[in-house]
């Protein structure tokens, strides 16, 4: 019988225990999102504050991490969010999770509060809590460097850390693991509250695989498909421009968030396009820093060689950060955008939320709702490059009035500023909207409205099918289709939630089938022999459990929370192909609920919970 070990860390007691995951639990929840949801639903007491000893953080691998499967690197970081008050989970790529599995661990559950700054040191069977007082206050890059120096031996240690923003409980913070960001919704701030600065891991063990030959066989099929695909393949769009290859397409579809979502067409889109980054800061796409075993190789390294930000070297920007820190703030200078992303990584700010919140504050400033009194003298106008940088520095250090406004995220900033600004505070459930304008792609509107962490662009990502030619020009895939969109989004949601349980990167699904090609690898790695239906059910189960988490944690949770910002529902887009559009959310939501087996208030029915084996949830939400 397959088994996996997780670490349970109680920072209050300073204790660490090892636990074998029940094989039946492992089969039903698999890993990543599913297993994180299982543990956190059961181990976080109902309705405790996100900033409390009782709240916990789960870091969870999937069965493919560290194996020969392509892009098998994505691990999950989840918690009760201090930003939204509900569920949040995010995923990081890179090299950190490989090492965790090589140390013999599938995941870590962290609870309690340490007396003083602490880091977790893992070296195979040796697991210890150590003093991090000397690291408190250090930025993520400096912390990573210092811990690597301290613990380098026969192998290089892998470091996951929080930045100074999370130490100061900024709500829009993310974990940085080997220079890659993981998690939205303030997951890093929860670690900051717990005074856990970092997790260092070194491992020498073999990663368990049920059937290595079959896994190699299935991985080979997937690799060959990925290599041949014009998006994911050799010299494909990702290798040339990463996810930013879509900027011009999104702009042509009228969906590029511009000046706080006031429109979806940016007049300087060419200047900030993937093509433009490729031909300048990314040196023709030759400066890639790929994840292990990745064909896509979407991560590019920007080197700023001239101008006021000269000398900065950093990965990115990816599409989301590029857009939210670029067009959404009216910025068209590539060096400024790359610098802005660098600062997000340095301080541990989450770039989507940072760009969204600053864009909102810029609109408030231009409308006269806030003045230089509120921004510590910063002329916070759209397109002001120095103002963007200043806002990030202050937000990252939670300094002054402006820094506090940035750090609290857009919902709280709007509640603080008032004067009707809530109408253009672009969030769902408190999580800042990412870089697709939903008025130009109704499916994305539905995804944002009912995603289990608030406005999320990946649960599922329908934009490519709706507007970028990844599906036929027919219903329900067209951007303004309503009929059939709910059921389609529901199916995609479950499939991609299943992928989030496996440990492979979602981006391989641009080149391979998310079920037909990934399932054989999962079965070879686990020996669980899931049918396709069972595999998708793992995703559906995880999504219903996270949905139930919201119902348990938020007393009045329901349909009213599955909504969009006022602007998306009531203010027609002024330009582009979607000119005049608002999102007709309600009929799509009805269809989604029906397809999901949820009632009219969006609550999973008892029958649905029983069907998914979530009987233990029923008395928690009914």
């Amino acid at each position: 019988m397959r088994s996996e070990t997780i670490l349970k860390v109680d920072l209050t007691k300073g204790s660490i225990s090892k636990e074998t995951v029940d094989p039946a639990v492992l089969r039903n929840y698999m890993g990543g999102k599913g297993l994180a949801a299982y543990y956190l639903f059961n181990e976080i007491p109902p309705r405790v504050p996100a900033f409390s000893a009782e709240n916990k953080v789960a870091i969870m691998c999937g069965p493919l991490i560290g194996t020969v499967a392509p892009s098998s690197v994505k691990f999950c970081v989840a918690t009760k969010s201090p930003l939204t008050g509900g569920w949040t989970d995010g995923y990081a790529s890179g090299t950190w999770a490989d090492m965790l599995r090589a140390a013999g661990y599938y995941g870590i559950i962290i609870g309690g509060i340490a007396e003083k700054p602490t880091y977790l040191y893992i070296e195979d069977d040796k697991v210890e809590l150590r003093d991090a007082s000397d690291l408190w206050g250090a930025n993520t890059y400096e912390t990573t460097r210092l811990l690597k120096e301290r613990h380098r031996s026969d192998i290089e240690p892998m470091v996951l850390t929080i930045g100074p923003a999370a130490e100061k409980l900024a709500l829009i913070t993310t974990v940085i693991a080997e220079y890659r960001a993981a998690g939205r919704g303030g997951v890093a701030a929860v670690l900051g509250f717990k005074k856990l600065k970092a997790i260092v891991v070194k491992g020498h063990k073999e990663i368990p695989v049920a059937n290595p030959e079959k896994l190699e066989e299935a991985a080979k099929v997937a690799r060959e498909k990925l290599i041949k695909n014009p998006i994911t393949g050799v010299r494909g769009r990702h290798q040339q421009m990463g996810t930013s290859n879509i900027v011009l397409g999104v702009n042509a579809a009228g969906a590029l968030p511009t000046r706080n979502f006031q429109t979806g067409v940016f007049e300087y889109a060419e200047d900030i396009s993937g093509e433009s980054f490729r031909d300048t800061l990314w040196m023709g796409g030759q400066r890639r820093r790929p994840c292990p075993r990745c064909i896509n190789q979407c991560t590019h390294v920007a080197i700023i060689e001239s101008g006021k930000w000269a000398g900065i070297v950093d990965e990115g920007p990816d599409y989301e950060n590029l857009t939210m820190l670029g067009s959404n703030c009216g910025i068209s200078d590539k060096n400024t955008i790359a610098t802005a992303e660098f600062l997000c990584d340095l301080y541990g700010l989450e770039g989507i939320s940072a760009g969204n919140t600053i864009g909102f504050l810029m609109e408030c400033f231009e409308k006269g709702l806030i003045t230089k009194e509120d921004t510590d003298g910063v002329n916070l106008r759209f397109g002001n490059e120095d103002a963007l940088i200043e806002a990030l520095v202050r937000g990252g250090t939670v300094t002054g009035k402006l820094g506090k406004l940035v750090a609290m995220g857009v919902r709280r900033a709007a509640d603080t500023i008032g004067q009707g600004s809530q109408k253009f505070a672009m969030h769902v459930k408190g999580l800042e909207m990412p870089a697709y304008e939903p008025r130009a792609a109704f499916g994305m509107g539905l995804c944002y409205a009912r995603s289990d962490r608030g406005a999320c662009h990946l649960r599922p990502w329908t934009f490519g099918a709706e507007c970028l030619g990844l599906a036929p020009r027919e219903p329900p895939y067209l951007p303004y289709d309503i009929q059939g969109k709910g059921a389609w989004v529901k199916t995609l949601n479950d499939v991609f939630a299943a992928v989030d349980c496996t440990g492979v990167c979602l981006f391989i699904t641009f080149g391979v089938d998310a079920v037909e090609d990934i399932l054989p690898m999962v079965n070879a790695a686990t020996g669980f022999n899931y049918t396709a239906e069972e595999y998708v059910k793992v995703g559906e189960r995880a999504s219903n459990l996270t949905r139930a988490f919201w119902f348990r944690e938020v007393s009045d949770f329901g349909r009213d929370y599955d909504t969009l910002p006022w602007r998306c529902l009531h203010e027609p887009l002024p330009s582009g192909p979607a000119k005049g559009k608002t999102v007709p959310l309600e009929p799509m939501l009805n269809d989604y609920y029906k397809a999901a087996g949820w009632d009219a208030n969006g609550k999973p029915t008892k029958a649905k919970l029983q069907e998914l084996g979530l009987d233990f949830v029923i008395n928690k939400i009914y």
Binding site: T243, S244, Y319, G464, L506, K579
Partner: protein, 91 residues
């Protein structure tokens, strides 16, 4: 585009931009439709990429005529700009 000529501008976004460049001009006849322009584009790009893939790409691409989505049977006139948003994927 030359003045007086019956031509439309076809702009490419996404994958086809790598194949065909940012834009081309395509001659049209009276009463031409978007579908006719797509056929012309198909012929021009055939030597540059696998035919089956090209057919699929053009079948799936989103079509924006003068800034508005338009179905294949829409009439197209000289001076019009047809933007073909061909496959691309991000996140």
């Amino acid at each position: 585009m030359e003045a007086g000529k019956k031509e439309v501008v076809v702009k490419f976004m996404g994958f086809l931009r790598e194949v065909a460049g940012p834009e081309i001009t395509v001659p049209i006849k009276d009463n031409s439709k978007i579908a006719d322009v797509l056929q012309d584009v198909h012929k021009r790009l055939e030597p540059l990429m696998e035919k089956e893939l090209l057919t699929k790409v053009l079948r799936n691409s989103r079509l924006v005529l003068n800034g508005v989505y338009a179905p294949d049977e829409t009439e197209i006139n000289p001076g019009d700009v047809l933007t073909i948003i061909s496959p691309a994927a991000g996140g």
